[in-house]
């Protein structure tokens, strides 16, 4: 019996090891390929470890499309979206959770219905609207529709409604205003939820692709996400159907790096947040 179990364990562990290798390989290959010249990637026989270590890919990308600027832009967009959504979303979430007003339920359902509208559906009118306002080709156009988030409101409402009412009642009796209650009492208590919402919203902001693809036209406003499509469809070295996979690797690496680092450092928070959110972008 014991032997059978031991064998089962061994097989189980081997399979797990296999899975680990299968899933680690793409990442390792990505990192290594970023430092190879293009011709080594298409060489026969191909190599895994770079025979010719080079930083050329990164330098070329910086020269062609100003990688640093793109990274800064992406950071700004993701951060502003996160800050704004957190602020407005928590405010609204608190209101729905603890305050009473007419039509609360109906308005809540109305706001949640926003979650069902896919972005693809909205970008057509958005393009038209931004054209009219003259905001085409600005990061503001990307931030504006995302200043508040229905998911954050939903999540905050859920979290805050679990807080005991006595906390607020006593504060209200003492004469504190709603906003003061919000700032002084609620916010400190929901730090975990704030952390979760920060991670989720930052990830969503970092991921923005379709809308920036449509609305941005100046190189200096480009985001990292569009950059990947840029490299995939630009040829890089030669044209007529050839993709520079070395550059694509290098770029994907840079784009993923902040997220990867955050994940490595905050794995538990990440996992909890994302599983809690239950939604993909």
């Amino acid at each position: 019996m014991n032997k059978e179990n031991k064998i089962k364990n061994l097989i189980g562990n081997l399979i797990i090891l296999l899975i680990i290798i299968i899933f680690m390989f793409p990442l390792i290959f990505l990192i290594l390929s970023s430092f190879k010249p293009y011709r080594e990637i298409v060489s026969i026989p191909p190599t895994i470890i770079p025979k010719e270590f080079t930083l050329n890919n990164f330098i070329e990308i910086q020269k062609k499309i100003d990688l640093i600027r793109m990274t800064i832009n992406t950071f700004i967009v993701a951060s502003l979206i996160t800050v704004s959504t957190l602020f407005l979303g928590t405010l609204a979430g608190y209101a729905f959770a603890k305050l009473q007003f007419k039509g609360k339920e109906k308005i809540f359902v109305l706001m949640m219905s926003k979650l069902m509208i896919p972005t693809m559906v909205l970008v057509i009118p958005w393009t038209f609207m931004m054209m009219r306002i003259g905001l085409i080709d600005s990061l503001l156009a990307i931030i504006l529709p995302n200043l508040s988030g229905a998911w954050t409101i939903f999540f905050m409402r859920q979290y805050i409604s679990q807080l005991p009412n006595e906390l607020f009642d006593s504060a209200r009796i003492d004469g504190a205003g709603e906003f003061t209650i919000f700032l002084r009492i609620i916010l400190p208590l929901i730090k975990p939820a704030l952390a979760t919402a920060t991670i989720i919203n930052f990830l969503w902001g970092w991921n923005e692709f379709l809308w920036p693809l449509l609305v941005l036209t100046s190189k200096e406003n480009f985001l990292l996400s569009i950059g990947v499509a840029f490299i995939k469809y630009s040829g890089g070295v030669m044209t007529e159907g050839t993709v520079n996979y070395a550059m694509l690797a290098a770029f994907s690496l840079i784009y993923s790096l902040p997220i990867l680092l955050a994940y490595l450092l905050l794995a538990r928070q990440f996992v909890q947040s994302i599983v809690l959110s239950g939604l993909k972008r």
Partner: protein
């Protein structure tokens, strides 16, 4: 005093409500109106009644895009569910460092930004004998393939991509679900002398049904709307082999300049998403 009190909640939700109205509900209304017009987003729209609806429904590319989306979404989700349940069961041993590491690693593709993970997939599957997957094939004695440039293999490549990307998420949800199963059930099964396999089949899987359904519907909703990954992988595929509904809408609006027709397809996408979400909400309510 109670009247004054009532303004404050409104102030709390007013900004969010304003944003949603301006950038989500109002555009939706524009879109619905646009579906009855001929519009290229530049010149003023011209009303043409139901012509767009008729043209879209009779457009074979539209029907094809529905099929393609349904195919890839369902296939990838079903395989994903089976795979992730398997991995969850395999790694549920509490003290195994290896198991924890495994779960940690398979979650990484899910966390990566969509465009980057699609970039990685491009790197693995590029149509040349030197790409990693092709090298593997040649070790097995099979010739190298075109993958994303082969009209027969493009969609399977995308399905594989989605499985790779999402398996981490579903596994973790399953792991959480497994942890939540009270020990009583395991004890009862042991008392009955059930084998591990039977336990899985008759106890665990039925108990995990709500989680399975949750994963199914969540993945369905996000799968239907996916755009970034497919755009960076194939941009609609060799020919139209991987033109999903989202790509179809994008192409019709910004490739052909037929915003009215794209609006029709977009509304259909919206209705499908709406239906799925309602099913999901109804299901959660009944729990």
């Amino acid at each position: 005093m109670s009247q004054k009190r009532n303004i404050i909640p409104w102030l709390f939700i007013a900004p969010s409500l304003a944003i949603f109205t301006t950038f989500h509900f109002f555009p939706l209304a524009i879109l619905v109106y646009a579906s009855f017009t001929k519009w290229n987003l530049i010149s003023p729209p011209q009303f043409i009644g139901l012509e767009n609806y008729l043209k879209v429904i009779s457009d074979d590319l539209f029907i094809k895009s529905l099929f393609i989306t349904i195919t890839f979404v369902f296939t990838s989700i079903i395989i994903n569910v089976i795979l992730s349940l398997g991995i969850a069961l395999l790694t549920e041993k509490p003290n195994s460092k290896l198991a924890t590491l495994c779960r940690f690693i398979i979650f990484i593709p899910y966390v990566l930004p969509d465009a980057a993970s699609a970039g990685i997939w491009n790197l693995l599957f590029f149509p040349h004998p030197s790409s990693p997957v092709n090298v593997l094939l040649s070790q097995l004695g099979i010739g190298w393939q075109g993958w994303i440039e082969d009209k027969n293999l493009a969609l399977p490549t995308i399905i594989l991509y989605y499985i790779w990307k999402n398996v981490g998420f579903s596994t973790l949800v399953y792991v959480a679900g497994l942890k939540a199963i009270p020990k009583i059930f395991y004890d009862a099964a042991e008392v009955d002398g059930a084998s591990r396999l039977d336990t899985i089949k008759y106890v665990i899987i039925p108990l995990l049904k709500p989680i399975t359904l949750f994963i199914l519907i969540t993945s369905l909703i996000s799968g239907w709307q996916s755009f970034t990954d497919i755009f960076v992988l194939t941009k609609g595929g060799p020919g139209t082999a991987t033109t999903t509904l989202s790509i179809y809408i994008y192409h019709t609006a910004f490739g052909e300049g037929l915003a009215g027709r794209a609006a029709v397809a977009a509304i259909i996408l919206f209705i499908i998403t709406l239906a799925l979400t309602i099913i999901q909400l109804r299901y959660i309510k009944s729990e």
